[in-house]
């Protein structure tokens, strides 16, 4: 029975060997056909009969594609809506991070622009006629500011590696700032003019009256040791005195602008005049300063 069944089947179907051969032949023909198409289209991708036929085929398929796109549009829109909702949270977080980053960048650029302006003014001062002779400038950024009312010192980004020493004068584009009180290899501490221990020999540029600049109330200075019979007028410019006798060299070179007289007072019981001076240098908002390094060795006392 099995034999007769097998016999009937074998009448309808090709023998197994023929079936396998046919299968392989079809595969071989199709693969060769694909390779032939690939070769032709690769060799002439923009011209030729095959390219033209492809163009006609694409044109024929275009209506079907358009129809499919139109049918799918509502679904695609819905998918896009849902997809955008799910990604909204992560996008929001990403945008927040970007905003923070660009805010920080903007602040950094602003600070750089401000420092650039300060450095430019400093450069103008260093190349101007008021700059003291026999000194060269070492420019530095202010990297820390006074931490409180009792601390009148700043830290600058230059130290002994660039020639700074204790008592090196520090100036800004506006005028005298102070002097170095402590030096590290790459940083230095500067006592401002408003420091209680700061004393600067100075003179009135107009009347040539000598005095000592000390700290006053608030951010002002006082021109001390001015006798009552000497004349100092409101608005006069005060500059550093400089060395008058080589045996007693001064810390500061002559002629560095210190400030402007804002009031002159006299009292019966006081020995000296009370001369208030507003410093030219903005001691609370310094960005860039210059250290005055003498070009001749051991100039500083």
């Amino acid at each position: 029975m099995l034999a007769s069944s097998a016999q009937r089947k074998s009448e309808r179907r090709p023998p197994r060997g023929r079936s396998a051969a046919l299968r392989r032949a079809v595969l071989a023909v199709l693969v060769l056909g694909a390779l032939a198409l690939l070769t032709i289209s690769f060799r002439s991708p923009t011209s030729g009969a095959l390219h033209d036929a492809q163009g006609y085929g694409a044109s024929a398929l275009r209506p079907f594609q358009v129809a499919a796109t139109r049918v799918a549009r509502p679904f695609r829109d819905a998918y896009g809506y849902v997809s955008s909702l799910t990604s909204a949270k992560s996008k929001n977080a990403k945008l927040h991070r970007e905003v923070s980053y660009y805010q920080a960048l903007a602040l950094k650029n602003l600070a750089a622009a401000k420092e650039n302006a300060s450095l430019k003014r400093l450069l103008d001062y260093e190349q101007g006629p008021a700059y003291p002779k026999d000194y060269h400038a070492v420019n530095a950024s202010v990297i820390s500011f006074p931490s409180g009312p009792f601390d009148q010192q700043i830290t600058i980004s230059a130290g002994s590696n660039r020639g700074l020493r204790v008592n090196t004068p520090i100036v800004s584009a506006d005028g005298l700032v102070g002097r170095v009180t402590n030096v590290g290899r790459v940083t230095a501490t500067v006592a401002l003019l408003t420091d209680p221990d700061s004393v600067v020999a100075a003179r009135d540029l107009t009347t040539k009256v000598f005095g000592l600049i000390r700290h006053g109330q608030g951010n002002t200075l006082i021109l001390d040791q001015v006798a009552k019979d000497e004349v100092v007028n409101r608005g006069d410019v005060i500059v550093t005195q400089g060395t008058r006798d080589r045996r007693y060299p001064d810390l500061y070179p002559y002629g560095i602008p210190v400030g402007q007289v804002i009031s002159v007072g006299t009292s019966d019981i006081a020995t000296y005049r009370t001369v208030q001076v507003a410093p030219f240098a903005k001691l609370t908002g310094l960005d860039a300063v210059a250290a005055l390094i003498p070009t001749k060795a051991s100039k500083l006392p």
Binding site: L2, A3, S5, A6, K9, S10, R16, L22, R23, V26, L27, L30, V31, G33, A34, L35, A36, L37, L38, T39, I40, S41, F42, P45, L50, Q54, G55, G57, A58, L61, F64, Q65, V66, A68, T69, A72, R76, Y79
Partner: protein
Amino acid sequence: MTIVDGLKAAVLLFVAAIVQVSILTQIHVLHGVPDVLLVTLVAVALLRGAIVGAVGGFFAGLLVDTATLGQLGLTSLVLTVAGYWIGRYGETTGQDRAHAPFLSVGVVTILYGFGLLLVHFVLGEPAPAGAMLEGLVPAIVLNLVLTAPVYAVVRRLLRAFERSDVATEVQLLG
């Protein structure tokens, strides 16, 4: 296989190709793109054997390359081999096994991706293996999701092989 079955298979593959090039290529889920044409071809090849799989793969690939104005023969080559191989699997060990469509789709998705990559590489065209690998796992998952409904539709339209169609000859010994 009758002429009607052949027409049904052709229509199925045509619709799948149009849907693929017009709609599904725009859907990217975690860098993966679902391939309904590949899934349909797998279903047809499993139900109709190696020759139908190879012929269907060839013409479906031709359709895709024509519609996208791509390199003619490129997709055909890969789909022909894929259809033939899945067809042989359906005629032999994959016959009547419930997991056969899913296994076939998973494996063919991987081989199809690497096959296209290889052909592009051989032709000297850009073959970004990193991008392909990045989207491979999501593509497998998406294709597996499509497998059940697509296979059910194809199975309904193309009747399954009758036992007599696939039974090999019985040879009496002795």
